[in-house]
Amino acid sequence: MITGTPKPIEEILEMIEPYDNIIVAGCFGCVTVCRVGGDKEVQVLSSTLRLAREASGRKIEIKEICLERQCDPEYLEPMRPYVEDYQAVLSIACGAGIQFMAEKFMKTPLLPGINTGFLGVTERQGEWAERCQGCGDCVLHLTGGICPVTRCAKSIFHGPCGGSVNGTCEVAKDIKCGWQLIIDRLKSLDQMENYGKLKPYKGWDASRDGGPRRILREDMI
């Protein structure tokens, strides 16, 4: 899923400072699962903002909504009749959802209420961790199912570097060395022969370095 963290309330208050009425829009997708942008968070955030603005002597009117998904046009369309009645939308969906809404409603300022993070997993309740950088050319079959691009702080393809100590990465004691994990998995899969092979230079053109990416599925259009 796509993860994120709430923006500091002071930053949000500064963003909405010019406005007297706004929409706070959540999303039932990833951000609901990682508890940063679902309907509950919409309610809590809206109440906090109302209270803060009331305390500052300038009330704000807030309409609360939560869309099925902010990254699909069909769920955005129902907002069209009323979106222009508000001065701005504060969205707590991921960066993709926020942008998509901005593209659809040209006259309404869109404000980000969260900092979008990474493609990750729920390691346990309240803890999420990155697993994939969407590099566009997956190599997990060669690396024991552990991603060198994401799990190694240097994204190297022939690790571990000289900074790997006791399974931890040189970057921080609480980060596991991705290459130690790869080797552990390769060993338990009896696939260490994969380690000994020189790997070709990564084609980062399949990643964001090739410019903004697009997937076109003729069979579905």
Binding site: K154, S155, I156, F157, P160, V165, Q180, I183, Y195
Partner: protein
């Protein structure tokens, strides 16, 4: 000869090689490099010039190399893949070769989080092993890795670094083999203090015949004090100083600890000299270049041989 390198000539002639190191300053003052170089001169076959080590911004390695060269010492260019993509790497390599740099060390580079600019973006377009492959392709095939022909071939003696003390230990020899397969001519190791572990490493390397395919230069760094030893052991990832080594320094009164550190370093070099498969030493007298002559001389490695081209 694959290259125009003095290090290659010394090693090929069968001499026990000595390399040293010069860290460029945190500023634009060339005198700082020239002063260090004067202390290094005559004590080494080539002198490494580091590339923004520990991600702290310094004068560029190539500029440092030119100053070292001006001083009459053959420079060795360290190059990390942290700060340059493959376009910049290839371009800088061509520039270095054009300016008469014949020795290269291919490195990953410490993560930028260790330096003054932890918010910098890192590159890591290719890794250090792929950089070895890249340079070798340019040198031996006369083409860029993209396939285009080179107009003038850089003739580097290609080196890399290895840390036998990083984890997991069992992968250290296989990783050295990857570097040799990629095309490394020589390797310089991380500073060795744990001799027992290093012997095990060398045993593994010899079993695979790697010592015959690559020149292995053993890294040493004299300990200035027990405090420095403890600090390095605790703070620097992949440094392994056994307690008995620290104790030998710590048992001395403060003013004699430095001399003990040098004595231990000389002993280490002598032991390494006898080890099968060790072709030379890399003496990293970091910010202590004035002791290089005493160490190299003490180990009986002076004067340095002159091998004609």
């Amino acid at each position: 000869m694959k290259s125009a390198s003095n290090l290659e000539r010394v090693l090929t002639a069968g001499h026990f090689a000595v390399t040293g190191e010069c860290g460029p300053p945190r500023g634009a003052d060339p005198e700082k490099v020239l002063k260090k170089a004067a202390l290094v001169k005559g004590n080494v076959d080539v002198c490494n010039v580091t590339d923004n080590q520990t991600s702290v911004v310094r004068m560029s390695s190539l500029a440092g190399c030119m100053l070292v060269k001006q001083s009459g010492i053959e420079p060795l260019l360290q190059m990390v893949v942290r700060d340059r993509n493959r376009i910049a790497l290839q371009s800088d390599l061509l520039g270095a070769a054009a300016l008469g740099v014949h020795n290269l060390l291919c490195l990953s580079g410490d993560h930028q989080k260790f330096g003054d600019d932890p918010k910098a973006k890192n590159v890591f377009d290719i890794d250090s092993i792929q950089l070895i492959h890249l340079v070798k392709t340019m040198r031996d095939e006369g083409i860029f890795p993209s396939g285009e022909k080179l107009d003038g071939v850089p003739r580097f003696y290609i080196g890399c670094a290895v840390n036998p003390f990083a984890d997991p230990f069992e992968i250290r020899v296989p990783r050295l083999k990857l570097k040799v397969d990629a095309g490394a001519d020589f390797v310089q190791t991380q500073c060795i203090y744990n001799m027992d572990k290093f012997k095990l490493y060398m045993e593994g390397a010899r079993k695979q015949g790697l010592h015959e395919r690559v020149k292995i230069l053993a890294g040493v760094t004299p300990l200035k004090s027990a405090g420095m030893a403890k600090f390095m052991n605790r703070m620097v990832a992949g440094i392994d100083i056994p307690d008995e080594v620290i104790k030998r320094v710590a048992d001395e009164p403060k003013e004699k600890q430095a001399a003990k550190g040098i004595e231990i370093c000389i002993e280490q070099i002598q032991e390494l000299k006898e080890m099968e498969g060790i072709a030379g030493v890399h003496v990293m007298a970091i910010e202590w270049e004035e002791k290089l002559n005493e160490i190299v001389g003490g180990a009986g490695l002076l004067p340095r041989p002159v091998v004609e081209q």
